[in-house]
């Protein structure tokens, strides 16, 4: 241990669900006491019963509980916690929260507030990255808006290019230009639409990245001048910007590009004085050694998909976060890190893919996780859990690890086929469709894949279960009526005295 290190004895977790449980587990292993916080909707949640103590912080809506900085700081004070882990989402990337922790004398398990602020501003971050020689998507708003100057700018930026109203948003007035010959017409049309929609006809020209992959680099920095990268995660399988399946390594990343991307992520972290775990997101264009990559943004927190990195590197990222937050040096060096095998994470969402992905709320009446070598489930629910409308619909994450990508893919399929969640609909049948899709099988998906294919994938989900399974349901119903009282959900089998009565013509 380092001289400057302090010991975290009691940690408050300002979060809920699977990530709160993940952090509690790490604390147990490090002999750190845990304090859970909960809203009225979560009084019976697993993270509350698993922590060493728990504090109610407010009503069900997040802004009255998990987003309430004063209530969380007060909970930390009343329980004499010495540190706060924000998890992801909620307050994790809010500089005022990090600052409030600092002012209350609490260790914030994350980056300094100043790093959060610098990366929180898109325009500011882009300027900082450019200065640090981290590649960003080429783009500019020329001060001279004549056709001639815009044409020169487009040539600098490169084709295909995207023309956008400088004052715009939401895709209005956006034009794709394949070559210089298309520019005059596109510029005139974009100006008209920009003027009509935003009252300002200034245009921004950006390189169009076609069929990009979303590849991100895990970085880690300590207070002793060490910054390392912990390799990449590929997250191209996203529906409406919500990640669905992540994996590591990225099948399209060559060793040379991986090294360059890792160096760029380290430069990005150092440019904002980063500490603790963070992730730099990039767009990857092309594959192999000729691929290009562009910085998108930095997520200044632990990511949902951090377990795939843990699987392939053997590093426990939450342990490392706690060590670094208490002032110790990083428990690993760049040279000590390597990737082994392949990991895939599937996010389990409470949503009905067959009804337009409508979020589901209700009571989970049966919950049964898959088990076996290379299978990890990080879950926020159990049988009897009430899934409320107040929070994110992600219930759990299935993470599998195997020697090859194909082995991992098959392991994920087998695990999902044994992952029973009843009482509400989940996206498990949809995940199975993705994992079997030829483009996923041959690792050629881009960030637009699920937006193009979701409807077809959902439509391919089988509507009918095997007749024998439905016959078993009839058997089950008959048993219940014979017994006279409905069994406790999920426990009927063990109580059933009529197990030999189970013949039914299907």
């Amino acid at each position: 241990m380092d001289d400057q290190a302090v010991t975290i004895r009691r940690l408050l977790i300002a979060n809920r669900g699977e990530i709160a449980r993940r952090i509690i587990r790490a604390c147990r292993e490090l002999d750190i006491e845990t304090v859970a916080v909960y809203s009225d909707a979560d009084a019976g949640a697993p993270h509350v019963s698993e922590a060493d103590s728990a504090v109610r912080i407010g009503a069900a809506p997040a802004r009255e509980s998990y987003l309430n900085i004063d209530a969380i700081i007060a909970a930390a004070r009343s329980t004499h916690a010495d540190a706060i882990h924000p998890g992801y989402g909620f307050l994790s990337e809010r500089a005022p929260f990090a600052r409030a922790c600092e002012e209350a004398g609490l260790i914030f398990v994350g980056p300094p507030a100043s790093s959060l602020e610098k990366m929180g501003s898109k325009i500011g971050a882009r300027a900082l990255m450019t200065a640090a020689k981290v590649p960003v998507v080429p783009g500019e708003t020329p001060s001279d808006q004549s056709d001639k100057a815009l044409t020169t700018a487009a040539t600098r930026v490169g084709f295909p290019a995207l023309i956008k109203p400088a004052a715009g948003g939401g895709g209005i007035g956006m034009k794709t230009v394949r070559d210089a010959a298309e520019l005059p017409g596109a510029l005139a049309a974009a100006r008209r639409e920009a003027k009509a929609s935003f009252g300002n006809d200034a245009l921004y020209i950006e390189r169009l990245i076609e069929q990009p992959r979303h590849v991100e680099i895990q970085v880690f920095a300590d207070a002793h001048g060490h910054t390392v990268h912990v390799f990449e995660r590929e997250c191209s399988a996203q529906r409406r910007h919500q990640k669905v399946i992540e994996e590591s390594p990225c099948p399209a990343l060559s060793p040379a590009i991986r090294e360059r991307m890792g160096a760029a992520a380290i430069a990005a972290a150092n440019a904002v004085g980063y500490r603790n775990a963070g992730t730099c997101e990039f767009l990857l264009e092309g594959s192999g050694d000729s691929a290009s990559f562009y910085f998108l943004e930095m997520n200044t927190r632990l990511q949902v998909e951090h377990p795939v990195t843990e699987c392939v590197t053997g590093v426990d990222l939450v342990h490392a976060q706690l060590r670094v937050a208490s002032g110790e040096a990083l428990p690993f060096t760049q040279a000590s890190l390597s990737q082994r095998g392949h990991a895939i994470e599937c996010r389990i969402y409470a949503e009905d893919p067959q009804q337009g992905f409508i979020p589901q709320a209700g009571t989970i009446v049966l919950y049964s996780e898959p088990q076996g070598p290379g299978i990890r489930v990080d879950s926020g629910v159990k049988a009897g859990s009430e899934v409320s409308i107040h929070y994110d619909p992600m219930l759990a994450k299935l993470i599998v690890h195997a020697m090859t990508r194909e082995d991992a893919r098959r392991r994920a399929i087998t695990a999902l086929r044994n992952y029973a969640i009843l009482g509400i609909r989940t996206n498990i049948p949809f995940l199975l469709q993705i994992l079997e899709h030829p483009q996923f099988v041959n690792a050629s998906i881009d960030t637009g894949f699920l937006d193009r294919e979701s409807a077809a994938l959902a439509a391919a989900i089988p509507r009918d279960l095997p007749p024998a399974a439905m016959a078993a349901v009839e058997n089950h119903k008959q048993r219940i009526s014979t017994l006279g009282t409905p069994g406790t959900p999920g426990t009927l089998g063990t109580l059933d005295p009529f197990s030999t009565l189970g013949n039914w013509r299907g």
Binding site: P359, A361, S368, I421, L422, A468, V473, P489, L492
Partner: protein, 129 residues
């Protein structure tokens, strides 16, 4: 012949000839749920008449919430003409917006919810005549 053997914790071994399945079955108040090989079915209990998952009912004149949600926008007032497919109400649940579209064209008879209300499935939000 289909044979069903309880395995515990809601799981059953279902055998038919040479084929076998591991099936999970559990009861909710209004339905029985069944799981096999990653696929799920919900079998409504007889006479439960559940309105879950439906945004319309009662001869298509009542607009109902498909799930517990908060009302964020109401685009129609009593006496107003609406067309089939118009987004008349927007609900929010789990940080996602759920547009509720008019099941038919007609005149709004009454609006039974207000912006900010927490509504439950099966409760009439709006009536059209």
């Amino acid at each position: 012949m289909v044979e069903t053997k309880p395995l515990g914790d809601g799981w059953y071994l279902v055998t038919e000839g040479n084929e076998r399945w591991r099936v999970a079955i559990a009861d909710a108040p209004d339905a029985t749920w069944v799981f096999v090989d990653g696929q799920v079915a919900r079998i409504e209990s007889a006479g439960s008449g559940s309105t879950r998952g439906r945004a319309k009912g009662r001869g298509d004149s009542s607009v109902m919430a498909p799930m517990p949600a908060t009302v964020v926008t109401i685009n129609a007032a009593a006496g107003q003409r609406v067309n089939e497919g118009d987004t008349i109400i927007v609900l929010e649940a789990m940080k996602m917006e759920l547009p509720i579209r008019s099941p038919r064209s007609g005149i709004v008879k009454a609006v039974h919810c207000a912006k900010g209300d927490l509504v439950q499935p099966g409760v009439t939000l709006l009536e059209i005549e």
